[in-house]
């Protein structure tokens, strides 16, 4: 099991979201966290956007890992999103993004934050995983894909 798989459950995964641009996507994500974890949607949105100003969190190949430190958050929370249409995201390969892992971490949890980023990046660096994730039919399938993925490949 990997760090990302341990973090996410079925309610944290959304497939085929119909959003057309980066801001709209972050807005929807913020609302998801508000609904799921009682966080302030506005604050989450602003924090995620702030991180984007340090440089786009897109990694290439249609993947992005937006993340932010959230004051008053007790434990890291995450979301795994696949959008219906690829969105321009300022990626280093200039390709639009349609697979996102969004991570929110408490203020002081640096090591945990990095561990989650590394886990997400490692999983989505795997072309095979990307292909399967983009073709997955439902959330159950995605969860299985995620939990079965391990570094020993």
């Amino acid at each position: 099991m990997n760090a990302l798989a341990r973090l996410l459950s079925a309610e944290d995964i959304r497939l085929d979201w119909d959003v057309s641009n980066k801001l709209s996507l972050l807005d929807h994500v913020a609302r998801l966290f508000e609904q799921r974890h009682g966080l302030s949607g506005v604050m989450v949105y602003r924090s995620l956007l702030e991180r984007e100003e340090w440089g786009s969190t897109a990694l290439g190949h249609g993947v992005a890992i937006p993340h932010a430190r959230i004051p008053d958050l007790r434990e890291p929370v995450g979301a795994l999103i696949r959008t219906r249409y690829a969105i321009p995201f300022g990626a280093p390969d200039e390709k639009p993004v349609f697979m996102l892992v969004v991570l929110l971490v408490p203020d002081h949890a640096n090591k945990r934050h990095l561990e989650l980023l590394a886990s997400a990046a490692a999983i989505f660096s795997d072309r095979g995983f990307r292909e399967q994730f983009s073709l997955a039919d439902d959330v159950v399938g995605v969860l299985r894909l995620l939990s079965e993925w391990s570094l020993a490949r």
Binding site: R51, W54, G55, S56, T57, A58, L59, G60, H61, G62, V63, I65, H67, R69, Y85, A86, I87, P88, G90, A91, P92, D93, E94, K95, P96, F98, D107, H108, N110, K111, H113, L114, E115, L117, A118, A121, F124, S125, R127, R130
Partner: protein, 328 residues
């Protein structure tokens, strides 16, 4: 039903997936350098024509610059002339220059024809036309302990490019196909390096992309794995540490300069693979190597800076080292 016939549903899916890519490209300028040797295969020629026509039809302003070294050498051989090369540059006397002019002219018309046959609108152009590429004689210092210079004949280097004619053709939706020959002060023709012409043209036009269709699969890392995307500094680092051959570094030299001077990205694509151009431009996975400026995002470095900037307690540094190159 044949296996390779796409279902209507699959076709719609492909087009739907490609749309966000295409939307990003509309109105942008791409310069494509096509080395002569990738134009020799009939099947590839057909694919090339189709790809160019398709890209043109989605509103991209294209310029093609083609080489022809292979074809020139073949023709010279047929005529019993053997070239002398210095550092891979063909010494070009007057007789050779006539052959160069002839071969490149024919090749140019062939490329224009390939594109037009597939529904594109292409037109041939050389440096003489509209005085578009000014060149002067290339003078190389002698090697080793010799003094003086090496005479390369009518080999030129670019003085100046006036893009007026390219822009004119673009306003009327034509694809200029450029022969790498420049014009000197007295109207003489100079033999130019196609890759350099393409790169300089991309700079002058401030093109979005410079695409190099060559006989390389892309840039490979030290383990022989294809690098999908890399910055100019990272490539120079790879070369400095011995991970990139001198030959390839030289081949992409003009392209790296183009990125330094404002061309947004360079794509090194294997021109020997059918549809490699479209795969690289229109799919998430791509198929070659993208070279970009260091000014863009660097996920791991940016994330570390972000974390350090917001820290309240002291941050020791990462417990993990990231593979700075990120996903491949």
């Amino acid at each position: 039903m044949k296996e390779n016939v796409l279902s209507a549903e699959r076709k719609v899916n492909i087009l739907t997936e490609a749309l966000p890519f295409i939307q990003g490209f509309h109105g942008k300028t791409f310069v494509i350098h096509c080395s002569g040797d990738v134009l020799t295969d009939t099947a590839l020629q057909l694919e090339f024509g189709c790809d160019i026509a398709l890209l043109q039809s989605v509103g991209i302003h294209l310029v093609i610059v083609h080489g022809g070294a292979l074809q020139i050498t073949q023709m010279l051989k047929r005529m019993g002339i053997y070239s002398v090369f210095h550092n891979s540059i063909r010494v070009t006397d007057a007789a050779t220059m006539e052959v160069v002019d002839m071969v490149l002219g024919k090749l140019n018309q062939d490329v224009v024809g390939l594109i037009n046959q597939q529904g594109g609108r292409a037109v041939g152009l050389c440096g003489q036309d509209g005085l578009f590429i000014y060149a002067k004689k290339l003078v190389l210092p002698a090697e080793g302990e010799m003094r003086g210079t090496i005479d390369l004949g009518l080999v030129g280097e670019i003085e100046r490019i006036d893009p007026e004619i390219i822009k004119l053709y673009h306003t009327r939706n034509f694809v200029p196909v450029v022969v790498p020959i420049g014009v000197g002060e007295e109207g003489e023709s100079y033999n130019l390096d196609a890759a350099t012409v393409a790169a300089r043209l991309a700079e002058v036009l401030q093109a979005e992309k410079l695409i190099s269709l060559t006989d390389l699969p892309g840039i490979l890392d030290q383990n022989g794995k294809l690098i999908s995307s890399i910055t100019v500094n990272e490539i120079e680092g790879l070369f400095a540490s011995g991970g990139l051959s001198e030959a390839i570094h030289k081949k992409i030299g003009a392209a790296l300069e183009a990125v330094r001077h404002g061309v947004r990205s360079v794509h090194v694509v294997d021109g020997r693979c059918p549809n490699a151009l479209l795969l690289e431009l229109l799919t998430s996975e791509g198929s070659g190597t993208l070279i970009r400026s260091d000014a863009g995002p660097h996920f791991f470095a940016d994330s570390l800076r972000y974390l350090r900037a917001n820290v309240i307690e002291d941050f020791d540094g990462p417990a993990f080292t990231f593979d700075e190159d990120g996903p491949r």
